[in-house]
């Protein structure tokens, strides 16, 4: 993995650099920001997160499992209470709902981990602790031939530090 890391103090400089990097297609761009910013989302033009599908599938599976567990266990140990049916779907809605929430939420977290590619054993190249503090970073993964033009572009938009990494 080779590329150029630009270090920005200002948000708008970083956003301008991202926009131009995308236009010129100099390489894959990874942006580091201490807090989520809509301006960066718009500049990166990333697709919507698929985490919602994890929530939907996990939640529906959990709901089905919650109902199934209560109905199956009631039939396996059939005690009549208050003259009610052995499989009473109304009280079992509580289990359907609770397990829907439980599995749906845990699936959402799984979706976050899978899509964000965490846990990560190393911080890999292109990261700097200052990016969690207050500064913005742009990592441009490109061939050595494009290093010079990427560096020039980053500096033009106000990068205070540009370095090549591999």
């Amino acid at each position: 993995m080779r590329g150029v890391l630009g270090h920005f103090r200002e948000l708008d400089g970083a956003v301008d650099a991202i926009t131009e990097l995308k236009q010129k297609k100099l390489g894959d761009v990874t942006v580091f920001t201490p807090t989520p910013r809509h301006e960066i989302d718009h500049a990166v033009e990333a697709p919507p997160s698929p985490v919602r599908m994890f929530m939907l599938v996990g939640g529906l599976s959990g709901c089905v499992f919650g109902y199934w567990m209560a109905i199956w266990a009631s039939n396996a140990w059939p005690l009549v209470v208050g003259g009610k049916a052995i499989s009473s779907w109304i009280p079992y809605t509580i289990f359907g709902f609770e397990v829907f929430v439980l599995i749906g939420a845990l699936s959402t977290v799984a979706g976050l981990f899978i899509n964000a590619r965490i846990p990560r054993l190393t911080l890999t190249v292109g990261y700097d602790p200052r990016f969690s503090h207050g500064d913005f970073g742009i990592w441009v993964e490109c061939s050595p031939k494009q290093f010079a033009s990427a560096e020039a572009l980053l500096r033009k938009h106000g990068a205070v530090e540009v370095r090549g990494e591999r």
């Binding site: 201490p34 301006e39 009631s74 929430v101 899509n115 911080l123 890999t124």
Partner: protein, 476 residues
């Protein structure tokens, strides 16, 4: 800081202003919030006190296990006492955290930003505390796992039509989701701590807990979506948990319990008591950690309005209970409510009514809503009042059922009081450990409302700067 001391009273839309005028840079946020993690003598003293209270509670429980449940003051048919009262109380305390972090997040209520982490941690520790009480209430506490549906060679399963099994699912789901919500929100902040940490051992531990978080746009994008969906599923969960707890009572035919108003009444009461506990915790933290410019008077003002609203709902529920008892025409129900308010339990009922209905009316005054000392004192009375609300629900009903020969009394013993004290020790021990290990204010979310550095401030290319005005919640 001078701006805080002279912060003027604003028009009665103060909650809309969630800006932090005394916080100007991302670095300031990191530095000031991380500075709160340094232990102090006062913190050690508070932790020592909490552990002593916990030890007293554990000793009393060991004594109860040795001697039997009779030492806990139960007097048939009053077989639910301080333990069940405290269970409902602590579950209620645990409601404000998810309300503030999830429901107010969905409603984009900006004032939640600086108080939600404390409220979320409070929720997790309160539910951990609540979960102990049904076990304490068991004659054979080591058999508690029988309520969990696990495969066993006798092919026995719990009774899924029992509200007690509903409780097990509701509380365990709530604890799991609250903990998950808290931890997911902490990941970016743990990464901030990791990047600032000098001690290699502690740094390695923080690196492990942060899962290698790098603050990349990709991570933030999925994080924001996951957080939104966690908030979306936590919202009905908050409303369901105390509804399910209320079914423990409402499913019985006991006078005072068998009523359909219980689910919304319990949920409103839970949120009310939880906000009371948030004030109890956040106001001293604000003062001792010098965070007045983060948890501003505007934030306290907005939270106080929420407190007042839930107090009015709870008060309305009290009145509806009395009305339905009169309007329903059931003699046992009418006698019971008369006995609750003017008879045997008048003192408990009037503590409840005074603390939960009358004193919170003071929050109609903007001056008092913006007075942290008053809010803190009021929060203590709300905590007391809400504990007595649960006492009034649980004990008088059992002591005054249908048949006069069943009527009896109930008095907690030193074992009950010791275990109640121990529960506060348990709760505050965990909370105190939390506040010195992890940020009590969400660093990354506070940064969202701090204006970022822009070129125009540094004089590079001012013509593009207007496009990057920060979006401040509450100003649209």
């Amino acid at each position: 800081m001078a701006t805080i001391a002279s912060e003027p009273r604003r028009p009665n839309i103060a909650s809309a202003n969630v800006q932090l005028p005394a916080v100007t840079t991302y670095e300031q946020v990191d530095d000031e919030i991380i500075a709160t993690l340094r232990p102090t003598k006062a913190w050690f003293a508070a932790l020592f006190t909490a552990v002593i209270c916990l030890m007293i509670g554990i000793s009393a429980w060991m004594y109860q296990i040795n001697q039997g449940l009779g030492v806990a003051g139960y007097n048939p048919p009053v077989m639910c006492g301080v333990y069940i009262v405290s269970f409902v109380f602590w579950v209620g305390i645990g409601h404000a955290g998810t309300l503030i972090s999830a429901i107010l997040y969905l409603f984009r209520a900006g004032f939640r930003t600086t108080i939600y982490r404390a409220a979320e941690a409070m929720t997790v520790f309160a539910v951990m505390t609540a979960g102990l009480f049904p076990i304490l209430h068991l004659g054979r506490p080591w058999k508690f796992f029988w309520l969990i549906p696990y495969p066993n060679w006798r092919l026995l399963w719990p009774q899924f039509k029992s509200p007690l099994v509903w409780d097990v699912f509701a509380i365990s789901t709530y604890l799991t989701i609250s903990t998950t919500f808290l931890f997911v929100g902490l990941i970016p902040d743990i990464a901030v701590l990791r990047d600032r940490e000098k001690n290699p051992t502690r740094r390695a531990l923080l690196a492990f807990l942060s899962f290698g978080w790098r603050n990349s746009e990709r991570e933030w994008r999925h994080f924001a979506r996951a957080y939104l969906f966690l908030a979306a599923v936590s919202t009905p969960l908050v409303l369901s948990v105390h509804s399910v707890v209320s079914f423990d009572f409402a499913m019985a035919l006991t006078p005072g319990w068998h009523t359909t108003i219980f689910p919304p009444y319990f949920v409103a009461g839970a949120i009310f008591s939880g906000i009371g506990m948030v004030f109890t915790i956040i106001i001293p933290i604000r003062k001792w950690f010098h965070l007045e410019h983060y948890v501003t008077l505007n934030h306290l003002d907005a939270a106080a309005k929420l407190c007042l609203t839930t107090s009015l709902i709870v008060g309305c529920a009290y009145m509806v209970e009395f009305f339905i008892a009169w309007y329903g025409g059931v003699q046992a129900e009418q006698d019971f409510f008369w006995n609750r308010v003017f008879g045997q339990w008048w003192w408990a009922a009037w503590i409840m009514l005074t603390c939960n209905m009358i004193l919170p009316l003071s929050l109609f005054s903007q001056k008092l809503r913006r007075n942290p000392a008053w809010l803190w004192m009021l929060s203590i009375t709300i905590n007391i009042g809400m504990w007595f609300e649960r006492f009034v629900i649980v004990v008088p009903s059992l002591s005054h059922e249908y048949e006069p020969w069943q009527w009896t009394t109930y008095a907690p013993t030193w074992v009950d009081y010791s275990i109640l004290l121990g529960s506060f020790g348990w709760f505050f021990m965990w909370f105190l450990l939390f506040v010195k290990q992890l940020p009590i204010i969400a660093i990354s979310e506070v940064k969202e409302i701090v204006p970022p550095r822009l070129k125009r401030l540094h004089g590079h290319t001012p013509e593009t700067a207007d496009d990057f005005e920060p979006e401040i919640p509450g100003t649209h």
